[in-house]
Amino acid sequence: MSSPRRRYWIIKGIKSTLFYLLVITIALLIILPVFFIVSLSFLTTHEAYSYPLPLLPGLTSRFILTHGERGYLLSVQDRVTGEYETVLDTDDLEKMSVYMEDRLGTPVSIPELEEQIARLSTEDPVYFSKSTDLLHNYKLFFQITRDAVPALVRSLQIAALTIIISLSVGGVAGYAFARYLFFGKDMMKFSVLFVRMFPAIAIAIPMVIILARMGFYDRPLGLALVYSIGNIALTTWITASIFMGIPESLEEAAQVFGANRLQAFIKTTLPLALPGLAAAAMFAFIGAWNETVAALILTQFNPTFSVVVYQSLVGATGQVNLAAAGGMVMAIPAVIFTFIIRRYVQQMWGGVTI
């Protein structure tokens, strides 16, 4: 192989290696936090606060039971280091059972404990293992938020209303931006985005006053209106670019061939714009579903689901693993919604093909 050719291939090899390294790094940056929160949501409280933190949740927990000063000494194995750490010294079996379930994520009944203690007479210390309840955090989360079903319904209601409002207003605005020339178009297009530059908290406080006067304070429609303010801007931009990508002549052809304006729009432009509209709906849904700060201020007796989660998980009782589980549960509806419309959104990434 001649030397310039070899050099060419070596340089090319180095370049593509660097490129893949970059791609992998970026992918890891996106995947790692997600992995971390998923993993954390399955960890026991004891594990979540131990150091080093286990990367993956364990399926079984190993214990040592021995005689202690006050009664029985319970130690639990750290899965990372493999060493046993003494966590409890008590003669109250009920207390020990509760502790094992709450802190160690392993439900062990009192008769089971008595059985192990009985073994102490023949062997000391007693080693035993028990399968960990992986869904422990989730069960606890649903216990805490059991009364939050109305809040869940309310959140879905608000998200749906936000989609309807921002899609109908933003979609019409987007169509106008894409199809018509009018005075101050560029300025208006920019000023629509301007709304998004204000942080939600800055809008929320004056909104309390405005919504209270309108009679919408602490009602789903009020929150949906507030969320729509920001979302209309996004929807306008998304739909405008989608409508711009659809040739006007398709609609004109329909008109020439016998359709009125509305028929022409519904029959030609609308089906082609569906991916964009779906993407806009997705953004609106996720935005409305996850929003907490404004909801915290704009609701009082009728909080949204995100507010309920926030209130029950944050504060003195807050546990990171429980918060992670709550976060996962919160994400599920958004993930489901995204999956339902993913076909359309993917179409948008591929562009509208004419």
Binding site: P247, A253, A254, F257, N260, L272
Partner: protein
């Protein structure tokens, strides 16, 4: 079949006048071509017929009925768009059938019509496909079929061939013309391609800056161009223009240029004699310049560029500061650097007024 009449139609976009006082009658079954450079208002004029643009002033009639204020769907015209405007989410069948559905044509009949027109444009085997699975030429055929299916009074075509590659354009041109001959539908065809216009039109309307410059048969606009613009716009290579001075000596009308003194033959000089000014623009088409031997030469010049075309060759000689293009027979071959001897076919010469740029045998604007 119908007639189409423009009656002093004007279209303004804000301050821009797109179509200026356009009056014309398209006869029944005529194939009319609107020709002009981009921005000349030809497409706007057509879109006003379709109802896709408002008419600022004047009125448009189809047969005796005024359609100026009718919405597009009530005008009974069909249109082929430049980008085909085939609906991408409908199959070919649906594309052709949808206009018929809108017109509430009974299902059986509709089915028959769709297959009929599909056969006519040779896309019968593609009816179940989506437009994305078709080539540009096939999509164009769908657009033609769709336009044929509704049996319109007026057939509008907005640069329908400009998105096709050169070879396909040529064959589609022939096919469109054949379809027109078969259906006999009154057609208006917009194009900026003069050779397309020449080959397809019954009559050509040459437009510039929103104004009609000349209306006539392809031969008229080619041989009797009314203005410098028309003579320049029509024909490839375009007409050569040479500034000359008129002089009458011994009863012979002469055209003087630093390179030549041309004695106009009897019969070719009548308009020049009647012309009252002395400066003229001489317009001569490249094929009307003959390469001759030295004895018959009006003037000689050095060949700068030679473009062989197979059936003929185009050579450019330098005259003053511009090139004079000559269409010469393919043989004998002429090479750059060679001195060529040239003469004009006198009976084909055109004369223009340098100030108005109008042909001197076309005084005023009464070309129609």
């Amino acid at each position: 079949m119908a007639t189409l009449t423009f009656d002093h139609v004007t279209k303004r976009f804000g301050k821009v006048v797109a179509v200026n006082d356009f009056s014309l009658k398209v006869e029944e079954g005529e194939f009319l071509v609107l020709l002009g450079p981009s921005g000349c208002g030809k497409t706007t004029a057509m879109r006003m017929v379709a109802g896709l643009e408002d008419v600022t002033e004047g009125s448009i009639f189809i047969d005796e009925e005024e359609v100026t204020f009718l919405p597009p769907r009530k005008r009974n015209v069909s249109m082929i768009f430049q980008n085909y405007a085939v609906w991408p989410h409908m199959t070919v069948y649906e594309n052709i059938a949808y206009p018929l559905r809108l017109k509430k044509v009974p299902k059986e009949e509709m089915n028959g019509i769709v297959h009929n027109v599909a056969r006519m444009v040779k896309i019968e085997n593609l009816l179940k496909r989506l437009p994305a699975q078709l080539s540009g030429g096939q999509q164009q055929r769908v657009a033609v079929a769709r336009a044929l299916a509704v049996e319109p009074k007026i057939f509008l075509m907005d640069e329908p061939l400009s998105n096709l590659d050169a070879k396909l354009r040529g064959s589609m041109r022939t096919e469109l013309k054949a379809i027109h001959a078969k259906t006999g539908a009154t057609s208006v065809f917009v194009t900026h391609d003069q050779s397309e216009a020449m080959s397809m039109a019954d009559r050509i309307v040459v437009m510039k800056d929103g104004k009609v410059i000349q209306v006539g048969t392809p031969d008229d606009v080619y041989d009797k161009s009314a203005t410098v613009f028309v003579a320049d716009f029509i024909g490839t290579p375009p007409t050569n223009f040479i500034n000359v001075e008129k002089k009458i000596s011994n009863g012979v009308c002469q055209l003087i240029n630093p390179h030549f003194e041309l004695d106009l033959a009897e019969g070719c000089d009548e308009y020049v004699r009647a012309y009252t000014k002395y400066d003229l623009i001489l317009g001569v088409r490249p094929e009307n310049i003959n390469v001759v031997d030295e004895n018959h030469a009006l003037f000689s010049a050095e060949c700068r560029v030679a473009e062989p075309q197979g059936s003929h060759q185009i050579i450019a000689v330098e005259l003053d500061d511009s090139f004079l293009k000559v269409v010469a027979p393919a043989q004998p071959k002429i090479y750059p650097g060679e001195i060529v001897h040239l003469n004009f076919k006198q009976e084909t010469l055109r004369f223009f007024d340098p100030e108005t740029e109008l042909s001197i045998d076309h005084p005023g604007d009464d070309q129609t």
